[in-house]
C-alpha cells in the first residue's frame, strides 16, 4: 500500500501568548511543531505500511525551516519526504495550498491512500484535505476515527472507515485511491526510535518548487488565492470575572443568585 501523508508545521500553541499591553502575539521562544492532528496521520500511515507493505511518503508545503517537521516524520517511521518550498507559494489560502499539494501528489505518481490531519491548529479550517481530494478527483472521508477494514486483494481495492459526526458516527466504504482526514481517536502515536532519529538526520529530502510542479502562475500563492486577509486584530481580553470562595453551601447559593435570571 503506497501512502502519502500531508503535514503542516505550526507554532506550538502552548507557547503563543498575548501581550496585553500591545495586544500582540508574543513569539519569543515559540517552537514549531508538527500540527497535532498530523501526528495521528503519520502514525496511521506507519501502521498501514507495517500491515500491508509498500511505501509511505510525507510532504509539506512550507518555508525552509519546515524541513525539521519532515525529519521528525521520518524519525517516526515514514520512508520518504518531499519538501514543497518556493517563494511563489507564499500567501496561499486553502484553495492555492491544496493545488500545490495535489500537484505534488500527481508528480509522485501512483498511490493508494492520502492521509491528512483533520485540521491545522493555527488556521483550524479543515479545508485543505477535502480540497486536495477535489483537485485529484478521489473519494474522501473526513473526521475518520477508525479504519474498520482494508481489502487490498479486491479490484478495485476497498477500505471501510468510521467518520466521527456530532451525534454519532457513520460507516463509509471507499474505493482506493482515496483521501482520509483523521481525528485523535484513531490511534496513539509512538515515540521516535533512536535509530529513526539518527537516520532522519542524514536523509536526503528533495525540494520541489514550481519549476517541478508547473502550476499555472495565476493559480499560485497570493494571485491564485480567492480570499484575502483585510484585517487582523486581537480580540478584547476578557475581564476577570466574579469569584466566590467559602463554604460550598454558601458559594453555590451566591452563584445561583447571580445566574438565576438566565436559567
Amino acid at each position: 500500500m503506497n501512502i502519502l501523508v500531508c503535514v503542516k508545521q505550526v507554532p506550538d500553541t502552548t507557547d503563543v501568548k498575548i501581550n496585553p499591553e500591545t495586544n500582540t502575539l508574543v513569539r519569543e521562544g515559540v517552537v514549531s511543531i508538527i500540527n497535532p492532528f498530523d501526528m495521528y496521520a503519520i502514525e496511521e500511515a506507519v501502521r498501514l505500511k507495517e500491515r500491508f507493505g509498500g511505501e509511505s511518503t510525507v510532504i509539506t508545503m512550507g518555508p525552509p525551516q519546515a524541513d525539521s517537521a519532515l525529519r521528525e516524520a521520518l524519525s517516526l517511521g515514514i520512508d520518504k519526504a518531499i519538501h514543497l518550498c518556493d517563494r511563489a507559494f507564499a500567501g496561499s489560502d486553502t484553495w492555492a495550498t491544496s493545488v500545490v499539494l495535489a500537484k505534488a501528489i500527481e508528480n509522485i505518481g501512483k498511490f493508494d491512500l492520502i492521509i491528512c490531519g483533520i485540521q491545522a491548529s493555527d488556521g483550524d479550517t479543515a479545508q485543505v484535505g477535502p480540497g486536495i481530494a477535489a483537485h485529484l478527483d478521489v473519494p474522501q472521508a473526513t473526521y475518520v476515527r477508525r479504519i474498520d477494514s482494508v481489502h487490498m486483494d479486491t479490484e478495485p481495492k476497498i477500505m471501510v472507515v468510521e467518520r466521527l459526526l456530532e451525534d454519532g458516527y457513520e460507516i463509509l466504504e471507499l474505493q482506493l485511491p482515496a483521501l482520509i482526514t483523521v481525528v485523535k481517536e484513531i490511534n496513539e502515536p509512538r515515540m521516535p526510535s533512536l535509530r529513526g532519529k539518527m537516520s532522519s538526520k542524514k536523509a536526503q529530502i528533495p525540494i520541489w518548487g514550481n519549476k517541478e510542479l508547473k502550476i499555472e502562475p495565476t493559480q499560485l500563492g497570493l494571485d491564485g488565492s480567492p480570499t484575502r486577509v483585510s484585517k487582523i486584530y486581537t480580540p478584547p481580553q476578557k475581564e476577570g470575572g466574579k469569584v466566590f470562595e467559602g463554604e460550598p453551601q454558601d458559594v453555590v447559593k451566591a452563584l445561583f443568585e447571580e445566574i438565576k435570571d438566565i436559567l
Binding site: G91, L172, K184, L222, D223, G241, F244
Partner: protein
C-alpha cells in the same frame, strides 16, 4: 508574481509590524522595517496593522473569469438528517436575511435529500425566498462527492453571490470540495458576517490561532463567496408561517452519482441525549474529578440542566469518557450559551476550544488556575462537594417552579 514591500518614505520605525508578524520575518534596520522574503508568508498581518500605510502587498491584476455583478442571491446549504433540519440552518437563514437586505437580493436555501419535499416550506417560513430542491433517492445520505456535483450544477445555473453552510463536520467537508470545483473563495468557521456599507464588500470574521487573534477576510474578485459559520454564534430565525416563497425543483443526473463511495451505516452515540455542538449548556469535567467514577457527578448536573457533557483532554486520555466529548484543540470547538468547567485547570489547548462561550462558570480548588481568567463566575472549592450541591440546588429550583 505578487509581492510585499515597505514604502521607506512612509515607514516611521514604530516596530508595530515587527510585533504582529507571526513568522518573525520583519526586523528594523536603520529605523526602517525590512522584510525577509524567505520567511514572509504574505499572510497580510503587517499591512493591516501599519497605521502609516507603509507596507503594501502588491498583486497582479486578477483576470476575472466572470463579472461579479452577474452573481445574485445569498444561499444557505441546508443540513438535515432524514428531513430533520439542523438548528444551525435557521441561524444561517437569519443572517442570510440581513446580508440579502444589505445587498438588495434574495435568500436561497439549497435542500437536497430523499422524500423531503414536504419540509421545504419550513425553510420559507424561516426566511428563504427561494428553495432549490432536489428530491432524489440517490441523495438520501450525505455523500460529499454527490452533494458537490449537485450543488456545483446549481451554482453554475443560478450564480449565487454568497453561499453559507454550518461549520459542522458535514458542512466543512462539503463546501471545501465545492469551492475547489467552482474556484470560489472559502472562509472557515466564521463568527461574524457583514456587508461593508461603503463598497458592499462581504466581510467574514473568523478566529485564528485558537481565538487568540481575529482575522477579517474578503474575497473581492471571485464569485461565489463561500463561508462556513460557527454554530450557536448567531440567533435562529423565527418561524413565520405566513411567509411565502418559491420552490424550484431541480434534478440530479444518475451519471453524477459517484460509485466509488458508499454509505453503509450510521450509529447514534448512546451516552448522551444532547450533542456538544447543538447544546445551549455544556457541563465539562476535568482531571480535578480524581477518578473515572466521579464523572457521574458531571453527567448528573448535565441532566438537570438539559446540558451536553464535555471533557478535558486529560479525562479522555485516561479513558474516563469517549473522545467525542473532548473539548479543545485536538477535540471539538464549542460555543454554548453557558459552559461550566468542573475541575478543569484551563490549559491553553482547552481554552481555545471553549473561550468564545457566552457565559463561563468555573469550579476549581486552585485559585491560580488559568480557567478563572476566562470565567465570568468562578467558585474556588472542591468539585466533588460543589458539583453535587449545584445539582441538588438546581433540582430544587425546578421543583419549586410553577408547572408549565
Amino acid at each position: 508574481m505578487s509581492g510585499i514591500k515597505v514604502i521607506l518614505d512612509k515607514c516611521v520605525g514604530c516596530t508595530v509590524c515587527v510585533k504582529v508578524c507571526p513568522v518573525e520575518a520583519i526586523s528594523m534596520q536603520e529605523k526602517k522595517a525590512v522584510i525577509d522574503l524567505d520567511l514572509c508568508t504574505l499572510c497580510g498581518a503587517c499591512p493591516s496593522s501599519c497605521k502609516f500605510d507603509a507596507i503594501v502587498i502588491e498583486r497582479q491584476k486578477v483576470v476575472l473569469k466572470d463579472d461579479p455583478s452577474n452573481y445574485k442571491g445569498v444561499w444557505v446549504l441546508v443540513e438535515h438528517r432524514d428531513g430533520e433540519i439542523a438548528s444551525v440552518v435557521y441561524e444561517l437563514l437569519n443572517k442570510a436575511k440581513v446580508l440579502a437586505k444589505d445587498l438588495g437580493t434574495y435568500v436561497g436555501a439549497v435542500f437536497l435529500g430523499k422524500e423531503i419535499t414536504d419540509k421545504a416550506n419550513e425553510l420559507i417560513h424561516r426566511g428563504a425566498d427561494k428553495v432549490f430542491l432536489i428530491d432524489d433517492p440517490n441523495l438520501k445520505y450525505y455523500i460529499s462527492e454527490n452533494h458537490t456535483k449537485a450543488i456545483t450544477g446549481l451554482v453554475g445555473k443560478y450564480k449565487p453571490e454568497i453561499i453559507l453552510a454550518g461549520a459542522t463536520t458535514t458542512g466543512r467537508s462539503l463546501v471545501s470540495r465545492i469551492a475547489v470545483g467552482v474556484y470560489a473563495g472559502l472562509t472557515a468557521d466564521c463568527t461574524g458576517l457583514d456587508i461593508d456599507p461603503k463598497d458592499k464588500m462581504f466581510i467574514q470574521t473568523r478566529p485564528a490561532f485558537g481565538g487568540n487573534i481575529m482575522a477579517e477576510i474578503v474575497c473581492p474578485d471571485f464569485r461565489p463567496q463561500m463561508a462556513t459559520v460557527r454554530h450557536k454564534v448567531m440567533p435562529e430565525a423565527e418561524a413565520d408561517s405566513s411567509r411565502t416563497g418559491e420552490i424550484i425543483k431541480e434534478t440530479i443526473d444518475e451519471a453524477c452519482i459517484d460509485k466509488r463511495i458508499k454509505f453503509l451505516d450510521f450509529i447514534k452515540e448512546a451516552i448522551s441525549t444532547v450533542n456538544l455542538s447543538e447544546a445551549d449548556i455544556i457541563v465539562s469535567g476535568g482531571r480535578g474529578l480524581g477518578e473515572a467514577k466521579n464523572f457521574k457527578l458531571i453527567e448528573d448536573l448535565a441532566e438537570v440542566f438539559g446540558a451536553a457533557v464535555g471533557s478535558s483532554r486529560a479525562c479522555v486520555d485516561a479513558g474516563w469518557i469517549p473522545y467525542s466529548h473532548q473539548v479543545g484543540q485536538t477535540g471539538r470547538t464549542v460555543c454554548p450559551k453557558i459552559y461550566i468547567a468542573c475541575g478543569i485547570s484551563g490549559q491553553i489547548q482547552h481554552l481555545v476550544g471553549m473561550q468564545s462561550s457566552k457565559l463561563i462558570i468555573a469550579i476549581n480548588k486552585d485559585p491560580d488556575a488559568p480557567i478563572f481568567k476566562v470565567a465570568n463566575y468562578g467558585i474556588i472549592g472542591d468539585v466533588l462537594k460543589v458539583v453535587p450541591l449545584l445539582t441538588k440546588s438546581l433540582k430544587e429550583i425546578h421543583s419549586n417552579a410553577p408547572a408549565k
